[in-house]
Subunit: 357 residues, 2 copies
DNA sequence: CTGAAAGCGCTAACAG
DNA sequence: CTGTTAGCGCTTTCAG
C-alpha cells in the first residue's frame, strides 16, 4: 500500500491541510513544519496520487492544436490523429481541439495567439513558421501561463520552447543518402522541388540534402529548388522546363510536406520510370504512388506519434513535471514499398469484452 | 461541466448505486431500470470518469513483461525502456515490472506462465517463441483472467491475442529492398546470418527477404542461412568459410535481433568495406558501426514504442475498452547514418518549474 | 500559521 | 431489485 497524505500527516504530526500546503509549495507554513513534512515524505517514500489530486481540483487539461488554415493531405491526417487521440484522452480529463486558424501572415498569427487566454486553454501546440513577431507573441503567451509546444514547423534548440517534430536538416540528409544510394552511381542532375521555400523548414531540408549529396555523391549535382506555390499548372510548367534544360536528371527530391502537386507534375514526364524519386510524408496519394513503384521512398514523421508526444509534453509541463526526453523522440522514418504495412498490432479476433475482475 | 453519476441518477430517477450497477454491467437490475439509466446516459452525453472510478476501487494495474533469461544488448535496451516507462506510469497507478524469467525450453515457459495468478498480476507481455505448449499455457492464463499480449516474438493474426511487434516477413523484405538497392546492380551472393533459426521469427524474416530478393534483384543470390548459436568463435569460422567458398559475396544480412557477434565476425573479413551490410535493431554496437560507415542500414523496431504500446493495450483490455488499432502500429523503421539522431524533442533550456496555476 | 470538515466522481457494503 | 452510507486520496474553504 502506497502511503497517502493521511500517513504523512500522522508521521509529521500535522494535519492533512498542512501536508497539502507543503506538497504544493503553497506559502504560509513555518520553516520547521515544512521540514517536518519533507522528512516524513522522504521517510515514507511518499508519492502523490496525481489523479486523486486532479479529481479534487476538478482539473481538466485543455489543449489546442493551432494549425494552418490552408493545407493538404498531410494536414488532414494530422487533424484526424488529433481528433482520435482527443477522443482517447477524454476519459483522462484531457480535452484536445484541432483548430485550423493560422494564416501565412505573421500578424494574423500574432493576433490569434494574443487572443488566447489561460482560462480558456492550458496549453497550445503551434504549427507556424518562424518569425520574430510570432516568436514574441509566443513568449508572451507563455508568460501569461499558457504552455507551448512548437509543433512540426520550426527548429529545435532555437527557442525556449519544447519542439515536437523531426530535425529537418537530418531529414534532408536522409533523403540525399537514399537518393544517392538508389541512383546506382549514375551521373547526372537531381531535381529539387517544393511547394514553397518560405519557411525555414524547407531551407533546413535543402541544407541537409546538399550536404550529403556533395560529400557523399559527387556524381550527382542538385539543381536550384523549384517552387510550385501550390499551383498545379505552374508546377507542370517549371518541371517540364527543368527536364528540357537538363536531360540528364536522374533523381527527384520533393521537399515539402504536401507532395501531391509536385509529384503529379513529375510523373507526367515520360522518363519518370527511370528516375529515383523521394518525397515526404505518408498520405493517401504518396502511399499509393509508393505501392505502384512510382516513388522509391518516403521520409516520414509519424503523425500519431507527434500528436501524442505534443500532448504528453503539454501535460508534463502543466503538472510541473520534467518530461522524459528519450520517450518523446520523433524519429525520421523511412518508408519503402516493403515496410508500408509495417504497421502491426493485430487485435484479437474474438473481441468479446471481459468484465474487469 | 461534464455530467456525473449524480446527474444521471437524478435524470433517471434512481440512486447512484443503481447507476453504478448499470454502468458496470452488474447484474440485479430490472430491465426497465437499466433502460431508464441508459436513456439518461444518452440524453446527457454522460462519460464516466475513469480515474475517479479507479480511485474509489483503489485499482492498481500490475503488468509484467516476461522476457527471456538470456539475451544481449537489444534485450537490455528493452528492459531499460520498460523500467523508464514503469517509472513514468507509477503516477497513474500502473505498476510495471520487467522479469527475465523465460528460458528456451517451452516446458519451462509453460511452468512460469502456470505460476501466474490473477491476484498478483493483471496482465503480462510475453516474449517467447511460438510452440503449441506455450500457446496452450497462454490460453489458460487468459482464461484465468490475466490479459496477455504477445510481445515482439511471434506472429500476428495467428493467435487470439494482441500482438505488439513488427511484421517479420515485411522486415525481411525491407532488408532485401535496401540491400538490393544499395548493391548497385552488382552481381553476386548475399550472406545471411543469424544467431539461431529456431524461432519462427527468423524463418519469417528469411521468407520475406528471399521473396523480395528473388523477385526484384535477380542479380543477387542469397546463400543458406548461417547460424552462430551465440558462439563468437563458431561465428568467425563459418563466416570465414563462407567468404572462402563464395568470393563474390557483395552483401550481408544479419537477421537476428542480437547482431553483435555475427557483425564482429563479418567485419574481420578483409573485404568488408566493399560489402553492403544490413542488420537489425538499434543497440550501442550497431549504432556505433552505422556511424562509422561499417554498416549501411539498420532495420529497427522502436523499443520505447513497443513497450508503451504493450502497456496501452494491456490497460485497454483491463478497462474493457477496445484499443484503437491505428495508434498502436509498430513501424518497421529504417536507420541510416543520416537519421540516427533523428531523435528530436528538444527541451527548453531554461527548465525552471512554473507552478501550475 | 494551522486544523476541521466537506466534497471531487465513483464504488462497496449493507440494509431493506 | 434498490437505496443509504461511508470512503478512495487529495484539495478547499473557513474558522481559529
Amino acid at each position: 500500500m502506497r502511503p497517502t497524505t493521511k500517513d504523512l500527516a500522522r508521521e509529521a504530526g500535522v494535519s492533512r491541510a498542512t501536508v497539502d500546503r507543503v506538497l504544493n509549495g503553497r506559502p504560509g507554513v513555518q520553516e520547521k513544519t515544512v521540514r517536518a513534512v519533507q522528512d516524513a515524505i522522504a521517510r515514507l517514500g511518499f508519492e502523490r496520487n496525481l489523479s486523486a489530486a486532479n479529481l479534487a481540483k476538478r482539473r481538466v487539461y485543455r489543449f489546442d492544436f493551432l494549425l494552418p488554415r490552408e493545407g493538404g493531405e498531410f494536414l488532414a491526417e494530422l487533424e484526424t490523429q488529433i481528433r482520435d487521440h482527443g477522443q482517447q484522452m477524454r476519459a483522462d480529463s484531457v480535452e484536445i481541439r484541432a483548430r485550423r486558424v493560422l494564416e501565412r501572415d505573421p500578424h494574423q498569427v500574432v493576433a490569434t495567439l494574443a487572443a488566447l487566454s489561460p482560462d480558456e486553454v492550458d496549453g497550445v501546440a503551434i504549427m507556424a513558421s518562424e518569425s520574430p513577431q510570432v516568436r514574441d507573441a509566443t513568449l508572451r503567451l507563455n508568460e501569461r501561463g499558457i504552455h507551448v509546444v512548437q509543433f512540426i514547423s520550426g527548429q529545435h534548440g532555437v527557442r525556449p520552447f519544447d519542439f515536437v517534430g523531426i530535425d529537418n536538416h537530418a531529414a534532408g540528409a536522409t533523403a540525399a543518402r537514399l537518393l544517392g544510394g538508389f541512383c546506382n552511381r549514375l551521373q547526372g542532375h537531381v531535381l529539387v522541388i517544393t511547394e514553397s521555400m518560405n519557411s525555414l523548414d524547407s531551407a533546413e531540408r535543402r541544407l541537409g540534402f546538399d550536404h550529403v549529396l556533395n560529400t557523399r555523391f559527387a556524381e550527382l549535382a542538385a539543381l536550384p529548388t523549384l517552387e510550385t506555390h501550390g499551383d498545379p499548372a505552374r508546377a507542370r510548367t517549371i518541371v517540364a522546363a527543368a527536364f528540357r534544360n537538363f536531360p540528364d536528371i536522374v533523381g527527384v527530391y520533393v521537399m515539402s510536406s504536401e507532395a501531391a502537386a509536385p509529384l503529379d507534375a513529375i510523373l507526367r514526364h515520360d522518363r519518370h520510370a527511370q528516375l529515383t524519386i523521394i518525397a515526404h510524408e505518408r498520405t493517401e496519394s504518396t502511399l499509393d504512388l509508393l505501392e505502384r513503384d512510382r516513388l522509391d521512398a518516403l521520409i516520414v514523421q509519424n503523425p500519431g506519434h507527434v500528436v501524442r508526444s505534443a500532448v504528453r509534453l503539454l501535460k508534463s509541463r502543466c503538472d510541473g513535471r520534467q518530461p522524459l526526453a528519450s520517450q518523446d523522440d520523433i524519429r525520421i522514418e523511412i518508408l519503402l514499398k516493403e515496410n508500408i504495412g509495417g504497421a502491426r498490432v493485430r487485435q484479437t479476433l474474438s473481441d468479446r469484452q471481459r468484465p474487469a475482475p
